[in-house]
Subunit: 79 residues, 2 copies
Amino acid sequence: MKARVHVTLKNGVLDPQGAAVAHSLGALGFDGVNDVRQGKVIELDLAETDKAAAEASVKQMCEKLLANTVIENYSVEIL
Amino acid sequence: MKARVHVTLKNGVLDPQGAAVAHSLGALGFDGVNDVRQGKVIELDLAETDKAAAEASVKQMCEKLLANTVIENYSVEIL
């Protein structure tokens, strides 16, 4: 079973990577880019075959390792 | 208009970040993780209001800056 996790910085947390991308897009001539935020996407291939169990397990992974819940949000998607 | 871009390594390209995450998950006691791939997600807030024009513009951004098309795939989603 495959799972996809999105980890993004919470609103209000400074995002220097996103700011750098926004600046570079401007320098390349792309106007009209108001804001850029950069996050991570993690694709997991799990042996688990039960959807609910897989989702619970991936949420635990997020809490323990994949996301820093002080400054980051995460969302889990089972594919 | 908001757009979301996923940038992931192509199949066959070594992913040391993903391998490190897989190793750490194993060390934390999460069994049954066959494979982990890590990519980037970039969320753009655009001034453009036409959906087709926004998508074309974001694809150009991917080709020119956001993705290294030699080793990475990208997908664009207009929200």
